[in-house]
Point group: C2
Chain length 220, copies 2
């Protein structure tokens, strides 16, 4: 996933590697690193293994640090600097904390990608993120973010957010699989990438599972 340049968009899959053990993480990434476009890691594995896990995984795939960064500008800057220093090709930040906080992420990203959460995919995402999601998407576009996160669990919202961000920003959609969203529906609604976790890493053959989803998408 050479995210700043032309997107390769081979599989249009970002793997959500929500495991907490180093060995399991490496095993899965070695199996699917060449199939998926990027691999997203979150705090639990970073807390368990240290930030050096990002360097290790980066040898097998482009890594997006899904840190849901949501602090004042100076703290956001320090977090992004560390992620990028350890090889992250992208970070995910919350737009809810305001324009200045996102600008700080972009400034610190040094060519890596900044993706902004507009609306979250879980039930609680409807309470505060949904009513503000369109304004957050507009802000993300205005400040020059590389993409936004919009819920595959609500394809209608992906379409709506696409009309706001246009085609310059990528849309990454979590919630496919275990959370109930469909890869096909999310892509048809306008997502550039779907984010899939358990439906890949919790299978006997993660490569086969990833290939099956990639085929589902390419057959659309």
């Amino acid at each position: 996933m050479d995210m700043k340049c032309e997107m390769r968009s081979e599989s249009r899959i970002v793997l959500a590697l929500d495991v907490t053990k180093r060995e399991k993480a490496l095993e899965v990434v070695e199996a699917v690193g060449s199939i998926v476009d990027a691999v997203k890691v979150n705090w639990p594995i970073i807390l368990g293994c240290g930030i050096s896990i990002v360097d290790e995984l980066s040898e097998h795939a482009d890594i997006i640090c899904d840190m849901k960064i949501a602090d004042i500008p100076n703290t956001n800057r320090l977090i992004v600097e560390q992620a990028v220093a350890h090889g992250a090709r992208g970070v995910i930040a919350h737009g809810f904390v305001g324009k200045d906080s996102i600008e700080a992420c972009i400034k610190a990203s040094h060519g890596s990608n900044v993706f902004v959460v507009t609306e979250m995919s879980h039930p609680g995402g409807k309470e505060f993120t949904q009513p503000n999601g369109n304004r957050v998407a507009k802000m993300a576009k205005d400040v020059g973010a590389d993409g936004v996160i919009a819920p595959a669990t609500r394809p209608g919202r992906i379409s709506e957010i696409r009309t706001i961000v246009g085609n310059e920003l990528k849309i990454l959609s979590p919630g496919v699989g275990a959370q109930g969203g469909s890869a096909s529906d999310a892509i048809k609604a306008g997502a550039d990438y779907i984010i899939v976790g358990r439906s890949i890493y919790n299978t006997k053959d993660p490569a086969q599972a990833a290939n099956a989803i990639a085929k589902e998408i390419s057959d659309l």
Copy 2:
């Protein structure tokens, strides 16, 4: 800061230990650990030193992990479990991700404190967190959080949030000192604790600086 029981409230200060080096962190905490009520650490130091820094610092003070936790319930749970396992007495989570995500934090906290961010203290905090702050405060109270975070930079908002959360929830107020907020104004407006960073750790004598702020508060 025996946060779940009667508050000692000796100094009513929470130190925001926004340094990134282990040696500096330990030096400051050893100097002021017995003066302040708690010490708040953020992601940059955890990324730099690993989560074991929380265990180390816990030997000198009650530690609040200001992780601005802001994810789906299952991820929130995993983050809180790790913080608590490493000795954190409190965690800070964002309320705008929804009630279910905060409930997951509380369930995972096992007697440690969960503080919910209502409105952020920086300029960008006015864009999305301020218009939703009262509803987030109400939600934090309803789900049984231990306290909320409200901006010392806007004392009027502390008073307003106090009327919403009543006296059962503690109010911790960041933004005192370098960010422009005043300790006295925040306490007068209803904060239980002020959160102070650079005005303590960036001085030649952090203990003296902490004592001076504690005196300012006790003289009110």
